[in-house]
């Protein structure tokens, strides 16, 4: 019993949230669809890279990463803009524009983080770092920018305090954290002397980020399902 108290209060908050924007009530099925579309976008970009352009991440990291973000960014922006928080001026186009604006900002933040952690600097690596950080931005910043816009309180809440609140928050922050943590772990094989192509920056880091992102989406999805089932139990 003791553990249910915070859960119910959480649900109350979610309920209140849902009441607030009645137009876009978020059901778990929508979460699933959203993550599915993001996943399909990612998969299709890799499919295109291999089958149509016959490039792959290991041999042509720059081209492949460019393809990935070129496909992933529109998908993410278009999908997440449906769930924008800013209710007063709820123009869909504005949300799209904010998402587009978030892309370069997120890329700069991600690139800085990577460089601080030891990513190589120099003209040789500029293209790689640029395209990698754009992909990371599509995983982390762009969805949040589309949904929250420039609301500092929301950004602070989910990225600094790590206190997500409701489906949308979870949907944004779990995959984003997954991508970052995955990228962090992905850097581990880089100093080893295995002399494999994929140890180069940013190939294994990208793999780590993608795996983390997918795991994050899965977690967010299962969280949604779990939440609904517990709600059903409560209803009964």
């Amino acid at each position: 019993m003791l553990f249910q108290i915070p859960a119910t209060s959480d649900i109350d908050k979610v309920d209140a949230d849902m009441k607030n924007n009645k137009k876009k009530v978020l059901s778990p099925s929508k979460v699933v669809v959203l993550h599915l579309i993001c996943g399909i976008g990612l998969a299709s970009s890799f499919w295109l890279a291999i089958n149509v352009y016959s490039i792959n991440l290991i041999e042509n990291p720059v081209e492949t990463l460019r393809l990935v973000w070129l496909i992933q960014v529109p998908v993410v922006i278009l999908i997440y803009s449906f769930f924008q928080k800013d209710k007063n001026q709820s123009s869909y186009l504005k949300a799209v524009a904010r998402g587009l604006l978030g892309l370069p900002v997120g890329a700069v933040v991600n690139a800085l983080g990577a460089i601080v952690l030891g990513a190589p600097v120099g003209t040789r690596y500029f293209q790689r770092t640029l395209n990698w950080s754009l992909v990371m931005s599509a995983f982390t910043f762009v969805p949040a920018a589309s949904v929250y816009g420039s609301s500092w309180v929301d950004w602070h809440r989910i990225f600094a305090l790590t206190k997500p609140n409701g489906f949308i928050d979870y949907m944004i922050c779990i995959p984003a954290y997954g991508a970052v943590i995955g990228a962090w772990f992905g850097a581990w094989p880089m100093p080893l002397d295995w002399e494999r192509m994929w140890q180069e920056w940013p190939i294994c880091v990208t793999y780590g980020a993608i795996i983390g992102y997918l795991v994050g989406m899965l977690a967010s999805f299962s969280f949604a399902v779990h939440h609904v089932s517990s709600q059903h139990v409560k209803g009964d």
Binding site: L117, A160, P191
Partner: protein, 900 residues
């Protein structure tokens, strides 16, 4: 609940003592020290060992040769020696049990017709070329610590057979691996060294040796010809034992043996130019072609003797030790056996001799081994004949004596001879085993007790740390761990786990930088999270730490595998630009201004602070002047003026640091009546003094390219201290100290250090030393190499002083012992605890990895670093603890005196 201070200090001292004891036990068990005899064997080696071995006068080589011949009573069996070293050839390739046996048809035909004598020669680890060549030439098995003891000397100073040959006036020619030229500089009449650097080259490297061969064989003016072929080793490194190139390479070697045999041995047999061809390999190789460890495949090297009069009697190939080659060659060519030889002669090669000559050879070998055993015996008295080997020797000598007297009367039977030979063999084998065993055996009991003691001390440190944490933070267990606090533990666990992998040991610098940056990124996240306090200033400090950390990471590429990649130091050095000098001046100015800035908050405390500031300004300017005057123009650092200038700077730094520390409590007590303020000011002043004194010293000693690294490290540490002292941050003291410790470790690698011994700056260890002194050079080498961890430890004093510590305000309420414990507990225990975890973990890893391929090339050098880091931590903690204790107790004492 709370522990008495005296008791607490006592426990820490016990733990430290246990650590030192355990470490010594382990080190002496794992790296046995073999006392090598200095000097060379002379004519006295042909006399029985006695206490007064007098020095012989210098003789002309020719006279010496005649003297040796007269004394040894054995005429040399051969006139010339060809020593052919085939790098990395496993004996199995020649002697069977491998399908490559057919690749050397000529050698096989020699073996089949019993014209050659061949052995499996067991090589001792480390199975890499340089130590093996030393073993073949000196007959001794070097310990790993030898590397440390003669760090700077590449030339082989120990008594060796090449030197013995040189002394009797031999002309020697060397073709092949240039290691020989480094070991024996100036001994060869003609030479052509090839480098073993380009492992991918398997053809040219051998062609460069063989191209001179026909000329040298025709030239015929030498006594010793050394051929060292590297190609086979390179083939192994590229493709392993069963590489497709192995067959052709063996055939090439076979052709060379055939050529030598046909041209010299056969044609000159009649012309009194008896030539002995010895084909040896320095070590074997594993299935994948690597070597260095102690597996059978690596230690199974070849020894093959081809020459007139040599005939093989048995059908199987015996196993000898690689060091047995040395006394055999020495006795065959009539020179004294090198002093440190642990091998014993290969009796088969002496079968053509007369009986009394064979016994004489055995006697000479016995005398030499006996001398070595006597020198190594713990009681250095000559009459220590209680040992089993001494009695064995006496038996053999007695039999020899009776055989001699019977031989004169022509009544010696073959049984007498056989018994004497057997007795000598018994002694030689026992003595040789004893000598080689001592160098390679690992006493398990000693190692286990060492590890257990280390483990105990580690547990004690961690237990004390936990206890202290419980006292200072009463709700330690219920309190939810923050991410940054958990990360401190995670980092240590990750570092410990990574040390089991040889490539992560080689590339440790990546790990330290990655983990430290992650830690500060987490702190950044935390700072953004907390909306209270002076946020923007703290953000700025963290940004400074992160950016400087990234620059430091890019300064030296470090490691082993990626050293070829560009880095800042390389680009600065390669361009021969004035930037290095420019950066050096910038960093000196940066350090001076930082120093004055940190002191500026105490300007109001009176003249002493200004005086201290001025003394640092002076020292800094002296360093600047030295850099501009002597380092700019290259080689001017060794003249007298430069040495004097450096010594003046040493004097300045030492004097100002000592005077500041000792005088500050007395002066500060005069300035202020508030005891808390006095203590804080004194600690601040001493902390500043330590840090800047150390930094200025490093700016003087480090290579010019590293001066910027030093100042960036200083900036990082000061920023961390300021960050943690801010009101808004709730970074606990132990987290802060761990962070500074990690910064120090990351900085250690930023200064260009690696886990190989090759990066130690030997040249820097002679700055400002007018006469050669091992101790002073050693201290300087330590100071240069451990610049960064030591800076981190010394900064603890300053960190203590600026901490907004509530406990220091309660000084009137608590006893001094309790106060000291609270103030000094974490700054002492956290570095000790972290280091002891790393030490214990690495000791266990070393023990587990003792048969690993890279034990001597990767793990053991790393262990040396770990041990010296422990010494560094102990020294640093001692300095911090004694300084703080002195200041606080003096301040309290003065206070009491004034109140009275």
């Amino acid at each position: 609940m709370s522990m008495n201070c005296t008791y607490f200090t006592l426990l820490i001292a016990v733990a430290i003592l246990l650590q030192i004891t355990g470490l010594s036990l382990f080190v002496f068990g794992f790296f046995p020290i073999r006392p090598a005899l200095i000097g060379v064997s002379g004519p006295e080696s042909f006399r029985p060992p006695s206490c007064e071995d007098q020095n012989h006068t210098a003789l002309h080589p020719h006279q010496l040769k005649l003297l040796y011949q007269k004394l040894s009573e054995i005429p040399p069996s051969y006139d010339r020696l060809i020593l052919m070293v085939i790098d990395g050839l496993p004996a199995e390739f020649v002697l069977g049990r491998d399908d490559l046996k057919d690749a050397m048809p000529y050698t096989q035909s020699l073996l089949a017709s019993k014209m050659a004598l061949s052995y499996h020669a067991k090589a001792a680890p480390p199975t890499v070329t340089l130590p093996r060549l030393k073993a073949i030439t000196t007959g001794s098995i070097g310990g790993f610590l030898d590397v440390l003891f003669n760090f700077n000397t590449q030339a082989l100073l120990e008594d060796n057979i090449i030197g013995q040959f040189f002394r009797i006036g031999w002309k020697m020619v060397m073709l092949g691996d240039e290691t020989w030229l480094k070991l024996f500089p100036g001994l060869f009449t003609r030479h052509d060294g090839v480098s073993s650097f380009f492992v991918t080259d398997t053809v040219q490297v051998d062609h460069n040796v063989s191209r001179h061969l026909s000329y040298e064989l025709y030239k015929n003016d030498w006594n010793l010809l050394i051929l060292h072929y590297l190609g086979l080793d390179h083939v192994g490194h590229l493709g392993g034992r069963s590489s497709v190139m192995m067959g052709p390479k063996l055939q090439e070697m076979d052709e060379i043996i055939k050529m030598i045999h046909l041209s010299t041995i056969r044609s000159l047999e009649s012309a009194h130019q008896r030539t002995l061809l010895v084909v040896v390999s320095d070590h074997g190789m594993q299935e994948n072609g690597n070597h260095g460890g102690s597996s059978y495949e690596e230690t199974d090297s070849l020894a093959l003797f081809i020459g007139p009069g040599i005939s093989h009697v048995s059908t199987t190939y015996d196993t000898i030790s690689q060091v047995d080659i040395t006394p055999t060659l020495a006795l065959l060519f009539g020179v004294p056996i090198p002093k440190n030889n642990a091998g014993y002669l290969i009796a088969d090669l002496f079968h053509t001799m007369e009986d009394h000559q064979l016994l004489r050879a055995m006697e000479l070998n016995s005398w030499q081994l006996l001398r070595l055993l006597q020198a190594q015996a713990t009681d250095s008295t000559c009459e220590s004949l209680e040992d089993p080997y001494s009695s064995l020797y006496l038996d053999a000598a007695a039999l020899h004596g009776s055989w001699k007297s019977k031989n004169v009367l022509r009544s010696a039977s073959s049984d007498d001879l056989k018994n004497t030979v057997l007795a000598y063999n018994e002694f030689l084998r026992t003595a040789s085993d004893q000598l080689t065993h001592r160098a390679t055996a690992k006493p398990i009991g000693l190692l286990a007790s060492g590890v257990m003691t280390l483990l105990l001390s580690c547990v004690m440190f961690l237990g004390l740390l936990f206890k202290l944490g419980q006292e200072i933070y009463p709700n330690l267990l219920t309190h939810k761990f923050q991410l940054s606090e958990a990360l401190v533990g995670v980092i240590i666990v990750i570092i410990v786990l990574s040390m089991g992998s040889s490539s992560l040991v080689e590339e440790e610098q990546y790990l330290w930088h990655f983990m430290t940056s992650t830690f500060f990124l987490v702190l950044l996240h935390k700072t953004i999270k907390s909306t209270t306090g002076n946020c923007s200033c703290q953000l700025f400090l963290i940004a400074v730490i992160l950016v400087s950390g990234r620059i430091l990471k890019g300064w030296h590429q470090g490691g082993v595998n990626w050293t070829h990649l560009p880095d800042i130091a390389k680009s600065l050095e390669s361009s021969r630009s004035p930037y290095i000098n420019f950066l050096q001046i910038i960093s000196i100015l940066l350090v001076i201004s930082l120093c004055l800035y940190t002191l500026s908050s105490l300007w109001s405390r009176g003249n002493i602070v200004i005086l201290i500031g001025l003394s640092y300004l002076c020292t800094g300017l002296l360093v600047l002047q030295y850099v501009l005057k002597y380092q700019g123009n290259g080689a001017g650092t060794s003249n007298n003026d430069a040495v004097l200038a450096v010594q003046v700077i040493y004097g300045f730094i030492i004097t100002s640091v000592t005077v500041t520390i000792i005088a500050s409590p007395w002066f500060m007590s005069l300035q202020s009546k508030d005891l808390v303020l006095v203590i804080k000011d004194c600690l601040y002043l001493s902390g500043t003094t330590y840090m800047f004194g150390w930094c200025l010293l490093q700016l003087l000693l480090q290579q010019p390219v590293n001066s910027m690294v030093m100042s960036l490290l200083l900036v990082q540490i000061i920023a961390t201290i300021y960050y943690a002292s801010r009101d808004g941050s709730d970074v606990k003291q132990w987290v802060e100290i761990a962070a500074i410790y990690y910064l120090g470790m990351a900085g250690h690698f930023s200064l260009g250090n690696t886990n190989t011994l090759a990066t130690i700056d030997v040249a820097g260890a002679f700055i400002g030393i007018s006469s050669h002194s091992t101790v002073r050079s050693g201290v300087l080498m330590f100071v240069i190499t451990y610049a960064s961890p030591m800076l981190a430890l010394l900064s603890m004093v300053m960190s203590i002083s600026v901490k907004e510590n509530n406990t220091i305000l309660k000084i009137h309420e608590v006893k001094m012992g309790q106060l000291l414990k609270i103030i000094l507990g974490f700054p002492c225990l956290v570095p000790l605890g972290l280091n002891s975890v790393l030490l214990v973990a690495y000791t266990i890893i070393l023990l587990v990895m003792r048969n690993h391929l890279f034990i001597w090339t990767v793990f053991s050098p790393k262990y040396i670093y770990v041990v010296v880091t422990t010494v560094c931590v102990l020294v640093g903690v001692f300095i911090v603890a004694s300084t703080v204790t002195y200041i606080i107790s003096t301040a309290v004492f003065l206070r009491k005196k004034r109140l009275r």
